[in-house]
């Protein structure tokens, strides 16, 4: 809407990640571009094989050994992370960009107290004394809503519930006040009630600290609730990016639309078959020529097999499709034109 946009805190350009395959290497992330504004909440949604988790790991340069970042730029506060030496990258991790992980059960070292782990996070990046770090750790535990934080410092992870462990992980991520947090499926391993609570906590904390968040999820609803903008990833590429409400109400990409249609809500009519997307998402190395979604798409035309559509911006929304969902065009005042778009 406005034209004086503040500098994004994180800028990703043409990020490509390769994975080993039968005949060498193949791309699993095929050119991802996005910007993250300071304090913004951006969702990244996709199914298994879409490359969303790899993107997250690539941003932190924590890919497993056999995977490589083939190309791209990751500009954090103007600095390209991909050009840093390993030592410099260690400085950045935790301090400027931090990560929250999927499985809180396993994400904490079982033989160290949570106090020791929090203190470690603090002392890696600053030369505070151990007692100062401990005091700060107690504060952090209080911030994430852990009762009796002073005593909890000396507890071991196995003594805490899953929700509490995830709170500790969040506390660790926030401890050095990073500008960006990547939350990789932070609530997948938790039950629904805890899920809601942890997300609410995270939302409150990041807004009070002004931290930008990238939330990775397979669950569209969770992402849409938490984030201001959501981007959908399929077969290693971004296929749509919209503000959440509009993504839900008027999905542009056939894939997004199909996802929404195939999910169940309370009002879903269960007497009729639930629509599913035919086929399987393609694995890296076997992406179809042209548009990767085309084999499963109900609206595919001839052009879809020839030309892979590029992510094109239309006002606040972006979509990579030759035939974005016509429904979007009938929304009054959205400023979108009707008809089909050529790639």
């Amino acid at each position: 809407m406005s034209n004086s946009v503040p500098e994004p805190v994180l800028s990703v350009r043409d990020l490509q990640v390769s994975v080993p395959s039968g005949k060498g290497e193949t791309l699993a992330v095929r050119g991802v571009d996005f910007d993250l504004q300071p304090g913004a909440r951006l969702g990244l949604v996709g199914e298994s094989g879409s490359g969303k988790s790899l993107t997250a790991l690539a941003l932190m340069r924590m890919l497993p050994p056999s995977l490589r970042i083939r190309a791209g730029q990751v500009l954090l506060d103007g600095r390209d992370l991909l050009t840093l030496s390993p030592r410099e990258m260690c400085d950045v991790r935790g301090r400027e960009i931090a990560m929250i992980y999927q499985n809180p059960m396993a994400a904490l070292n079982p033989v160290l107290t949570i106090g020791a782990q929090l203190v470690e996070g603090l002392r890696i990046h600053s030369s505070v004394s151990r007692s100062t770090a401990r005091r700060r750790a107690v504060e952090l535990l209080g911030d994430v809503g852990i009762p009796d934080p002073g005593r909890r410092l000396d507890s071991y992870p196995y003594e805490l519930s899953g929700g509490m462990r995830q709170r500790v992980v969040i506390a660790m991520a926030l401890s050095c006040e990073p500008s960006v947090i990547i939350a990789d499926e932070p609530t997948t391993a938790l039950d629904v009630t805890t899920q809601a609570r942890v997300l609410a906590l995270l939302r409150q904390l990041v807004s009070s600290h002004g931290t930008a968040v990238i939330l990775i999820s397979h669950d569209l609803e969770v992402a849409a609730e938490f984030c201001e903008n959501v981007q959908v990833m399929y077969a290693g590429k971004l296929v749509e990016r919209s503000p959440s409400a509009e993504l839900f109400a008027y999905p542009l990409h056939p894939y997004t639309k199909a996802l929404l249609e195939s999910s169940c809500v309370l009002t879903t009519d269960l007497t009729r078959p639930i629509p599913v997307i035919p086929g399987q998402p393609p694995q890296p190395g076997r992406f179809p020529v042209g548009c990767a979604f085309q084999p499963r798409c109900g609206q595919a035309g001839e052009i879809c097999t020839d030309h892979d559509p590029v992510l094109e911006q239309m006002h606040e929304r972006s979509v990579a499709c030759h035939f974005p969902h016509p429904g979007a065009s009938t929304v009054a005042g959205s400023g979108l034109e009707g008809g089909s778009f050529d790639g």
Binding site: V19, P20, S21, A28, G46, E47, S48, G49, S50, G51, S53, L54, L63, P64, S66, L67, V192, H218, D219, L220, E221, V222, L259, L260, S262, S263, C264, V265, Q283, P284, G285
Partner: protein
Amino acid sequence: MGHNMARTSAAETGREATPARRVNIGMVVLAVTALTCLLGPFLWHFEATQIGAGLPFLGPGFEHPFGTDDLGRDQLARLMVGGRITVIVAAGSALLSILIGVTWGVLAAARRGWMDEVLMRTADAFMAIPQIVFALVFVAAFGSSILSLTIIIGVLLAPTTARIVRSVAMSELSSDYAVAARACGLGRTRVMATEILPNVLPTIMVQATINVAAAIILEATLSFIGLGIQPPDASWGTLLLQGYGKFYNSAWLVLVPTVWIVVTIWALTATSESLRSRARREAAA
């Protein structure tokens, strides 16, 4: 809620399945060694006991590929005959240890309760006595004929096997297919025999290879310290003992049995490793 997309795929994490090799070099070496030792003496024209087959202390040469010893006996012939005894003792004791160990472990896994306790405590008692030391006790009691050595080593290797088999059997028992089989009304023994044993088989094979290697080491060690195979029989252990005494005359008398022992054990270890990774892969599939 929501279109629930599955966990990260193997492609996402970059794990790549390495192609399996059915037969590796270790197995080949083993087969060759075993065949040579078992059939060789029939085909080779020198006798192991033939004194004066050649001049004493010859190095490797055309006539005698591995040289001769102090009495002019052909080393290749002695190695093959000695190898025969080593192979028999090793294979026999490994087999015995598997038979005892599998029964022991499966029984403990199947029966649970106090029988499991008793069986496993007995295993613990066995394993608290280091193998060679216990071997000393057994040999002191039962002597060191080929038969008693085979039985002794078999018994010594059984407890470890039992523990491993029991642990695998127990984890199989609690897996879905076994629970389902029981739910269908199949008796415990039937489930054990038909459903579980086939899945425990890969582990047993790995353990068998390991046991053969352990048996060779035990037998050779016992023979070397004088409690194993007694003259006039020979095994690789006794050959080494004799070679050691005559080292100054010919280093080959030590070198050749050493290389044979080490290569055989290495081949067994390599085979067990490849069997183990194959078992792991099949289990993951």
